[in-house]
């Protein structure tokens, strides 16, 4: 990983490769690292992080530009082609794994996720939703209704009049505590501080923690969540 600089990087510094026209790509080397960071954070965080649809859009464009570049390469440039293709495979892997991780969290903790999204919408009705991307929100909405429909069809409708007789507190999946899976916010995560952070305290303790750049610590997730969201730390 450390030895090969990403070709997005190399192309810009012009390490001797023929660069066809558009190198003013929307994505930059920062986006590549941003995707990697977002992916690793999402893997380690027990709850759902804000979506990164803008970043994903730019990455998607960069992927198609890279594919176009590969097409344009001649037969004699086998090594360049392999390098481009390997990098593309890595980016694709991170992209897919990131989306799959989010989708798995949304499916497993569907009821909790929809409660979070509703709370966010209630708190900031004007702002665009930051937790779920439009595609994910659409998926979640349909998934929950599919879930409820399935339980209704498979259980409550089996008995004649079951739906009318039993109160919604028994029939609704959102009302059943054992079905509402919530993330474990007290689980511990390894954090790496990217810059100096303002001091904060751990719950049930008067100890004040101040992280400076480069510190790597193992802490419960809940107290450091705000630092993760404002970019001061990265999970690792």
């Amino acid at each position: 990983e450390a030895c090969a600089r990403p070709v997005f990087d190399a192309a810009r510094s012009g390490c001797g490769m023929e660069e066809p026209s558009s190198s003013g790509t929307a994505a930059s080397p920062n986006d590549y690292h941003a995707l990697q960071t977002a992916w690793i954070n999402e893997r380690h965080a027990p709850d759902l992080l804000p979506h990164q649809d803008d970043l994903l859009g730019r990455i998607k464009e960069a992927i198609s530009k890279q594919e176009a570049r590969i097409e344009e390469l001649g037969d004699g440039e086998g090594i360049a082609r392999s390098l481009y293709e390997m990098e593309l495979e890595r980016v694709n892997f991170q992209f897919r794994n990131y989306l799959r991780t989010r989708l798995e969290k949304i499916s497993r903790m569907a009821i909790w996720a929809s409660q979070q999204a509703e709370a966010e919408a209630a708190a900031n009705p004007e702002a665009a939703p930051s937790l779920l991307s439009p595609a994910e929100a659409n998926f979640l909405r349909k998934y929950l209704s599919l879930y409820q429909d399935h339980i209704d069809a498979e259980a409550w409708d089996k008995v004649a009049g079951g739906r009318e007789e039993l109160p919604s507190g028994i029939r609704q999946i959102s009302a059943v505590p054992s079905l509402v899976i919530v993330p474990d916010m007290s689980s511990h995560v390894f954090c790496r501080a990217l810059r100096s952070c303002e001091p904060f305290t751990l719950p049930n303790s008067t100890q004040v923690l101040k992280l400076s750049e480069g510190d790597i610590v193992l802490l419960p997730y809940q107290p450091v969540r705000h630092l993760l969201l404002n970019g001061s730390i990265q999970l690792t």
């Binding site: 659409n138 399935h150 339980i151 079951g162 059943v176």
Partner: protein
């Protein structure tokens, strides 16, 4: 003299509770032991749901009876026992149904396509409908990002892999390279990892050492 016959551990002293929760517990045990899923048992599910309705009615009757005083513990105890048993049945039943749903979803991710017939035989009608609707949801989501999510389950190591083809697959277009490939049983070739990754998962191709 008559020798005592061996009796299983579930002896008569547990009968009163079993009367309500027997089917629900059996369903959960079946699901725990199965490799993927046990066959659907709609009659047992029906029994559990009928018991839930029955318990609810009994609790309701007690509450509506003459002389019911909601503040007295002695009055409330009857309905409370019914509601607690009902809650337990509800938890068991919904856990059973949810476990089945989750395994169907996991299979869909694994197979990345149509469910095999032998798995479908284990599902009830509603569950087959569920599998189809879940499949549609996934397809819609993948189209929003224009990306197939059922690939790249492992981090990529090499561009190319040396493989043995275990079964004839015939012609297909490799998803990664876009090239037309034709694989017959017994082929030993070097192929793009992304092209045949799903075939390795299905066991039709293996890495050669």
């Amino acid at each position: 003299p008559v020798r005592a016959r061996w009796r299983p551990a579930q002896s008569c002293c547990r009968a009163p509770m079993d009367k309500w929760t027997k089917e629900a517990v059996e369903l959960l045990r079946d699901v725990e032991k199965a490799a993927w899923l046990p066959p659907a048992q709609p009659e047992k599910v029906l029994t559990v749901v009928s018991k839930i309705v029955d318990l609810y009615r009994r609790g309701d009757e007690l509450q509506k009876a003459d002389g019911f005083d909601g503040t007295l513990p002695s009055s409330v105890m009857g309905p409370r026992v019914y509601m607690l048993t009902l809650a337990r049945l509800q938890r068991c039943l919904l856990a059973y149904l949810r476990c089945r749903m989750e395994r169907i979803e996991a299979l869909r991710w694994d197979v990345a396509g149509i469910l095999p017939e032998e798995n479908k035989a284990m599902l009830s009608e509603n569950e087959i409908g569920y599998a189809e609707r879940y499949n549609e949801l996934l397809v819609e989501f993948q189209q929003a990002y224009d990306l197939e999510l059922t690939r790249d389950y492992q981090p990529p190591e090499d561009l190319y892999v040396r493989v043995n083809v275990l079964q004839t697959i015939g012609q297909f277009i490799g998803p990664e390279s876009g090239q037309a490939l034709d694989l017959k049983r017994g082929d030993h070739t070097v192929l793009r990892r992304g092209d045949i990754e799903h075939l390795i998962r299905q066991g039709l191709i293996e890495h050669s050492r």
